[in-house]
Symmetry: C2
Subunit: 333 residues, 2 copies
DNA sequence: TTGTATGCGTTATCAA
DNA sequence: TTGATAACGCATACAA
């Protein structure tokens, strides 16, 4: 590894002071044009790159942000991450990625780590941490965007972004009801997930408005992947063979459920209709294509990062953002 | 945002010098046991966390690593990223994630950015940058692991990890031949991909050893996703309706090809057999399940990060690592 | 328009 | 076993 060229090296070579080099490099005004050009050329030639570490210490801005997700192998978060990183990159920011694996201790550790690294802001997705711990952790950051998790705090450096899960679930149930389905099951995802709780609300509301009584035996929790969706659906189907519709926590779970229906000899959508959530790429790759609640995930990521940049810049326009899912009809309903 | 507690604050509160606090916090020897405990308790109580920025400036170690991938949305890289991050997290490292979108300028910018942030090491996946630029960029890092890209350099701070793409392709072709297939096509992925070139070699070698002449009209390049795999397969099928086997750059492309076969009225595997690459989760989710070249992606990520840590620690055990893919027979052959 | 002094929070080095 | 001082590379505040 080569030793870094420092601002002092460039200054010496150019026969000027460090400050002059600093001004040239940072596009600051108050500096002769040709001198600026000369310094810039020299810096380029000497392969000079400012140390963000030193700069961070001097300015307490690090041009880094943190992105915390449960699991980057979940396409839902991968899409969001891509959107976040795209905008960050365009804006000169670098993003720390941390997976929490749905584990609270890891969440806490992630937050601590990001804090130690003095990030300029954080985008926190689907955190499970209790309100109090989350609150104190978030307050340490100059800026934060919370995705799928509310947090009412004084101060304008936090904004919450959420998918309207309740409304989405409500619409899914409504669609089933209009199809004449009567035994509507809910594969609820992780029990401590906020999204799951919200969808349960929408699900129950939907049933109620249709005059159907809520029955807990039609709800089953599971980890949000295909395999666990499959098992949970099996449990559901053996407990309640009369199920004729199934709303799933996400598309991964929905696909698992689809397999379970097949293996149980049920035809989809004839015997059982299925609606997933999120519209990840998989939803339109598999056959039958999955009816699902569509949201533009990459766009959500982009918006989250843009919002974070606004907070950092001190122009917080809003304190909460709601994304409305859209029922996308395909072949499983 | 609260102001950070510094080591000076703790030192003042404890009535000792900053160095003593530093020694306590960093588990360094030469310090009275009860004093150490007292300081640690105080630090905890005062919510003190060392600034990695300041520490980085003082030690020129930042406990950060960079991970560069073409696209985190591609499950292949998401799985690897998860493995990398898991090990990094266990080891107290935080990882910068950057997507290059298969774009050389972005690759170069990514490498520059990571360098500015003075990462301790980098894991670079499937870079497209020309040898020379890659070489000078990589030399700036204290340590680097190159995945699916060779680079022979003096110095022992670089190791290359590769999937044996050539062998994998060779085996896929061999399997087709043993099945009695004669018109074996290759959906080659991105033209400037190293993996693609290697697989082409294995593909040609496989044909040659079977006494089949290589014909360029049976090879088609495409971006490595399902949609582009679909289109490329259509091109292939209309140009050569006699195709009876198809080896794909990756599973995403293979699934696209599967659809194209169906839409062309071809039955899989009866009329056309398909073998994918990588064995991403999708491969066993779709029906028919995809025959593919299996590699343990998460494990690759873990190994990459462990290797990087070894280099950083100065115990480089090897300079190249080869991963052997394993033909995993499922329902498309 | 350019330069000088100072500090950011931490650790290395040397001294006590 | 503990502490004082310098240094890491850069930018801010102020001076020339």
């Amino acid at each position: 590894m080569k030793k870094r060229t420092t601002i002092a090296d460039v200054a010496r070579a150019a026969g000027v002071s460090m400050m002059t080099v600093s001004r040239a490099v940072n596009q600051k005004p108050g500096l002769n044009q040709e001198l600026r050009q000369k310094i810039l050329a020299l810096a380029e030639e000497m392969d000079y790159r400012p140390s963000q570490i030193a700069r961070g210490l001097a300015t307490s801005r690090t041009t880094t942000v943190g992105l915390v997700v449960p699991d980057i192998t979940n396409p839902f978060f991968a899409e969001i991450a891509r959107g976040v990183e795209d905008v960050a990159f365009e804006s000169g920011y670098t993003v720390f990625l941390i997976n929490t694996a749905e584990d609270r201790e890891r969440e806490q550790a992630a937050l601590n780590s990001l804090w130690e690294h003095e990030i300029d802001g954080a985008i926190l997705c689907s955190l499970r941490l209790p309100q109090k711990q989350l609150s104190t952790a978030v307050k340490r950051f100059p800026a934060a965007v919370l995705f799928n998790r509310e947090l009412s705090l004084p101060g304008s450096n936090i904004v919450s972004m959420s998918v309207n899960d309740k409304q989405g679930a409500y619409e899914a149930v409504g669609y089933f009801v209009r199809q004449g389905r009567a035994y509507i099951a809910f594969l609820a995802g992780p029990k401590n997930s906020i999204s799951s709780q919200r969808r349960l609300e929408g699900y129950r509301q939907g049933l109620m408005d249709a005059g159907i009584e809520y029955n807990p035996s039609l709800t089953e929790y599971c980890l949000p992947d295909t395999e666990n969706g499959y098992f949970a659906a099996q449990v559901l189907l053996s407990r309640r063979p009369d199920i004729d519709a199934l709303f799933a926590f996400n598309d991964l779970v929905a696909v698992g459920a689809l397999r379970a229906c097949w293996d149980a000899g049920q035809s989809v959508p004839k015997d059982i209709a299925i609606i997933g959530s999120d519209d990840i790429p998989l939803a339109s790759i598999i056959r039958p294509q999955l009816t699902t609640l569509h949201v533009n995930l990459k766009q959500i990521g982009r918006t989250a990062m843009r919002t974070l940049l606004e907070i950092i810049a001190g122009n917080t326009s809003h304190t909460t953002l709601q994304i409305e899912p859209e029922l996308c009809l395909r072949e499983t309903t």
